[in-house]
């Protein structure tokens, strides 16, 4: 079954490749509705991104017992996403969007530890997002008389100002919910952590990117960055709109980063990290400059790769050990060395460390902020980046380093090869993007042209060019490797004998001898310091859940109040009818 669906997943890629970037199909549903696919450079990028992700995840599913319906739904999901990114009008977009919503809902429900509350959270937020989208699209229709993107784009500037703002707000809300902007992220963490382990990678790596695609579509294509600038005016070197979005993104990423550090469940940490990383993208997506778009695109690519890698890695570990908490894992480094290296590459990129692709995308993001002179936003981004080192380290330490917290961890074997193949591919991609950061500029430039922005100069594969300095990824990575090897050889040559097979309990422990019962894994203690820092404590204490819980309670109360009306006896009904009639009569006559 796996191989069948592997081939099936290859089909859309081949199909897309066959059309060579110029796919325009349309099919009339009714006299008003047309289903149309229209390929743009932006859509093509996202299409390949999602399709290849699905392919890799399907490879990883090989060794996990997976039912036919799971595969079928996943395939349906990939087709729905293809429809979203290739859609030429809102109807197609929305149909794809909703099929994505419910097929992912059923996929999530296949997890063994899902509960009704999380499912409800997911679907309600998804539907709220969809309804916000539908509101936007019908309002746009009422002025453009068409759901076609190009028609809406052409008639957008003729709409009244308040309608323009309403449209931007509605679409933004919808896509923000999907991307999990803080405040609207209530569903994200539970869903990501409780979904089937491999499906979490799709959720985080691909599905959240559909929100980003939507934002690009609206800001870049439908509204247009020039129009945004005209509408909202200019602050510093950027737009007011970009400034607001910048703060939204930065606050999202700072809060989510701190929340991530304090999580005990591996997938919850990754979920918060996902929110934080998408915060970066949102921070620059509205800036309306070439670098803003390029940074957001680049980070989209890198984040997809990283999150696929990390979630597949974690899924493999969870499948292998049956544990998903930092306090229950640990010390797997020499049991599963390949997995460890893969995760290491992932977190180096996640932290934005230089030799790998993570830095290239961060650099683009920072350049975007510099370009618009949004200094404090840039500082915020850097700050959240610095805080993210903590959760990156927690991720690798909690699972692989330190001490095994239970006996069965000491006898684990390396995870199945099918989990490792996609990880190796993704890790190589991260190295490649790190070494050749400039190569991606070629992909971005057509999109910038599509958005009628200036293109970014391209010099060579290895060099990332920017207005305020550039960096040579190839040089950095080769210098790193050369120095590393040099120092390694040096230290290797030094005679001081390294005693390698040291027992893991043989540590400096104040002269004591720790035993198997001694709690030596520090996985649990991470982030407790943070609660004592006033500023961070203020963030960690707050949560969006009281608000939504209160909303749910109030809704229930209202429902209870209203339903009391329906439990009266027949006399009351009659009296109500008569009273209503007389009331209406007097109003009507007078």
């Amino acid at each position: 079954m796996n191989s069948i669906f592997l081939l099936l997943n290859l089909l859309p890629i081949l199909f897309l490749y066959q059309f060579g970037g110029d796919l325009h199909v349309s099919l009339s549903l009714t006299k008003e509705f047309t289903l149309s696919l229209s390929q743009t450079p932006l859509g093509t990028f996202f299409a390949y991104l999602s399709l290849i992700s699905f392919l890799l995840v399907t490879i990883a599913q090989k060794s996990k017992k997976t039912s036919f319906s799971y595969y079928a739904l996943q395939f349906l999901l990939s087709i729905a996403m293809l429809a979203i990114v290739l859609a030429g009008d809102f109807i197609t977009f929305f149909i794809g969007w909703e099929i994505m919503t419910w097929s992912s809902y059923f996929l999530i429900s296949k997890s063994s530890d899902i509960d009704t509350k999380s499912l409800q959270k997911y679907i309600l937020f998804s539907l709220a997002s969809a309804f916000s989208l539908i509101a936007g699209m019908v309002i746009a229709y009422s002025f453009a008389n068409s759901f076609d993107f190009n028609v809406i784009q052409n008639s957008f500037h003729t709409m009244p100002f308040n309608i323009k703002v309403a449209l931007i707000v509605l679409f933004s809300l919808s896509f923000f919910t999907k991307a999990g902007v803080i405040g609207l992220h209530y569903w994200v963490v539970d869903t990501y952590s409780k979904a089937p382990d491999l499906f979490s990678s799709i959720l985080s790596a691909v599905m959240s990117k559909m929100g980003i695609y939507g934002l690009f579509l609206v800001y870049g294509h439908l509204v247009g960055y020039a129009e945004l600038k005209d509408m909202f005016g200019v602050i510093l070197n950027g737009t007011d709109f970009g400034y607001v979005l910048g703060w939204i993104g930065v606050i999202t990423s700072i809060i989510a980063t701190f929340k991530a550090i304090t999580q005990d469940e591996v997938k919850r940490l990754l979920a918060y990290s996902s929110i934080a990383q998408l915060g970066y993208i949102i921070a620059v997506i509205g800036m309306g400059t070439s670098f803003g778009v390029a940074g957001a695109m680049y980070h989209t690519l890198i984040h997809t790769i990283i999150k696929l890698l990390l979630f597949i890695n974690v899924a493999a570990i969870v499948a292998q050990t049956g544990k998903n908490k930092f306090s229950e894992l640990g010390g797997l480094i020499y049991r599963t060395p390949v997995s460890f290296v893969m995760l290491l590459i992932g977190i180096i990129a996640l932290a934005g460390m230089p030799p790998l692709g993570g830095f290239a995308s961060k650099f683009m993001l920072y350049n975007a902020a510099i370009d618009s002179k949004f200094a404090l936003i840039l500082v915020g981004m850097l700050f959240s980046g610095a805080a993210s080192f903590l959760y990156c380290y927690k991720l690798v330490y909690g699972i692989y380093l330190g001490h095994p917290t239970s006996k069965d961890l000491e006898t684990q074997k390396e995870v199945p090869i099918s989990y490792l193949i996609p990880q190796v591919i993704l890790a190589l991609l991260l190295v490649a993007t790190g070494a050749f950061p400039g190569a991606f500029i070629k992909v971005i430039n057509p999109i910038l042209i599509e958005f009628s922005l200036n293109t970014i100069p391209y010099t060579s594969m290895g060099v990332m060019q920017s207005a305020v300095g550039n960096f040579n990824g190839l040089f950095i990575i080769s210098a790193f490797v050369v120095i590393f090897v040099f120092i390694l050889l040096l230290i290797w040559r030094i005679k001081s004998k390294a005693k390698n097979n040291l027992n893991r309990f043989d540590i400096s422990y104040c002269g004591e001898v720790p035993s198997k019962n001694t709690q030596l894994h520090y996985g649990y203690g991470f982030g407790t310091d943070l609660y004592r820092i006033k500023f961070v404590n203020a963030i960690l204490k707050r949560s969006s859940s009281p608000f939504y819980e209160a909303l749910a309670t109030q809704t229930k109360k209202t429902a209870g109040l209203l339903s009391r009306m329906y439990y009266g006896n027949i006399h009351n009904t009659m009296i109500i009818i008569l009273l209503f009639f007389s009331a209406l009569y007097f109003i009507g006559v007078n």
Binding site: L29, E98, T101, A128, I134, V138, Y141, S563, Y566, Y585
Partner: protein, 484 residues
């Protein structure tokens, strides 16, 4: 076939039912299937004919009946006959699976119900409308109570009382009209309605509004409805939801537009529809009884229909009619599936949807749910988006916001049910579906999907129906031409 047979055939079959019973149960059941099949096929034939059409039966002039079929009533006729056909097929299974001595009684009133509701939408004489109104009413009371259990009897009695009150209002209205204009022909009334003294006109409008509004389950006259749904069998609920409520809705809006009430009362009906939608969806949240839950859901959808149909704009109405058709099919599907579950578990708690194990039932049930929620690629989506698009074109953004916000509340309980179905921790019992149900339910589900992916099948008719409703010249011509 003359239009009159739409009324006559069911009546005749209804009266013949005891004799069919004597021929054997299969003849009894077969007769109903045959009848509904004939009616449905006949209706399909009318789709290709130029409309309106008229046929009259005069006993001795001026006593007689005249039927007019225009595009608006054709749509309803399609829905009714199709739903009737589906239900009668379903009953083949139902009576086999459940020992029920009331079989004959059911078929009598089922045929009668069809006769009444079809007569109501075809008649062009307001007094005949009233008569059919009563026929429909009486058969529904009987159907509600035919289980003869406590809840069923309570439902029947309640329904009877409320129905009588509604009829009183209608009779008064008809009397007033007759006193003022001296005719009961709808065409003539429509022409001369403006001549009525405005104060009396208000009174007539309100009485008609209360009478039909009560039956069409409009807030605040719908407090009886959930009790009735709770007391009746599930397939009867399907009939109520797909046929009965829709037939009252038809008359309500037919008169609404013919009498030119749309100029004055649009806002009132729209806001009442909105409140219906809001109140019922919120109330549905806390329901523990599955039939009651879907009663509220039906009320809510009717609320949307009231909002959209009263909106005076052809786009919205066309969308509303699409939604109406889609809702009839989806609700019928849901109620039939629930019937299967209820007869298996002998319980009406909402948890029964989490207890059964049948892939087929799960899939069709979820299709029904998603369609009602308006999620693509199912027919409910097209209906909803058409309605919203219509509101958007008339720049009625408040209505859009309202529908979408309340829809989220609706989603809460629908997805709670779906989550129950998907909950792997519950112990699941397999449920026998029955061969005929496979056909019935798949046809319904396929139609939902078909209208979802290929809506122009249906939009063709809804557009014609909208035109017929908003520009009733040809209808009026025919109605006036009734030579009684």
């Amino acid at each position: 076939m003359s239009l009159g047979y739409y009324f006559l055939l069911p009546v005749i079959f209804s009266f013949l039912t005891p004799y069919f019973r004597k021929l054997g149960t299969s003849a009894l059941r077969g007769s109903s299937v045959f009848l509904t099949f004939i009616l449905f096929v006949q209706t399909l034939e009318y789709t290709g004919v130029s409309l309106p059409q008229i046929s009259q039966f005069s006993v001795a002039p001026p006593i007689g009946i005249a039927f007019v079929l225009d595009n608006f009533s054709l749509l309803f006729l399609l829905i009714f006959t199709f739903s009737g056909f589906m239900v009668s097929l379903y009953m083949l299974w139902y009576f086999k699976a459940n020992d029920n001595t009331n079989e004959t009684r059911f078929y009598v009133f089922f045929n009668m119900l069809l006769a009444g509701s079809i007569g109501m939408i075809l008649s062009c004489d307001i007094f005949n409308v009233y008569i059919f109104f009563e026929i429909t009413g009486i058969s529904s009371y009987a159907l509600a109570a035919y289980n003869k259990d406590k809840l069923g009897l309570e439902a029947g009695i309640k329904y009877l009382i409320i129905g009588s009150i509604a009829s009183i209002f209608i009779v008064f209205a008809i009397m007033l009209i007759y006193l003022q204009i001296g005719t009961v022909n709808i065409g003539l009334i429509a022409q001369r309605y403006s001549e009525i003294d405005p104060k009396i006109a208000v009174l007539i409008a309100l009485m008609l509004f209360i009478g039909f509004g009560t039956k069409a389950e409009l807030f605040p006259m719908n407090f009886w409805a959930p009790d009735i749904y709770q007391g009746s069998s599930s397939h009867v609920n399907g009939l109520f939801s797909a046929i009965v409520a829709k037939s009252y809705l038809f008359v309500f809006f037919h008169l609404f537009y013919l009498f030119g009430l749309n100029t004055k009362y649009t806002l009132l009906i729209m806001s009442l529809g909105a409140i219906t939608f809001l109140v019922s969806e919120f109330t549905a949240l806390n329901q523990k009884d599955i039939k009651r839950l879907f009663a509220y859901s039906t009320l809510g959808q009717l609320g949307i229909l009231f909002m959209a149909l009263a909106s005076n704009s052809s786009d919205t109405i066309s969308g509303a009619l699409f939604h109406l058709a889609s809702h009839s099919i989806s609700k019928l599907l849901i109620f039939l599936v629930l019937g299967i579950l209820i007869s298996k578990f002998k319980s009406t708690k909402i948890t029964i949807v989490g207890d059964f194990k049948s892939l087929f039932l799960s899939i069709v049930l979820i299709i029904g749910f998603l369609s009602i929620l308006g999620i693509p690629p199912f027919s409910g989506f097209i209906g909803k988006i058409l309605i919203l698009k219509g509101f958007a074109l008339s720049h009625n953004y408040i209505a859009i916001a309202f529908i979408l916000l309340v829809s989220i509340v609706e989603a809460v309980y629908f997805f709670r049910l779906i989550a129950l179905m998907l909950d792997k921790k519950r112990t699941k019992t397999s449920v026998p579906v029955g061969f005929v149900n496979y056909i019935v339910l798949s046809v319904l589900a396929i139609l939902i999907v078909l209208f979802g992916v290929y809506p122009s099948l249906l939009t063709h008719y809804t557009d014609l129906a909208t035109n017929a409703l908003l520009q009733p010249h040809s209808y009026l011509q025919f109605a006036l031409g009734v030579g009684l």
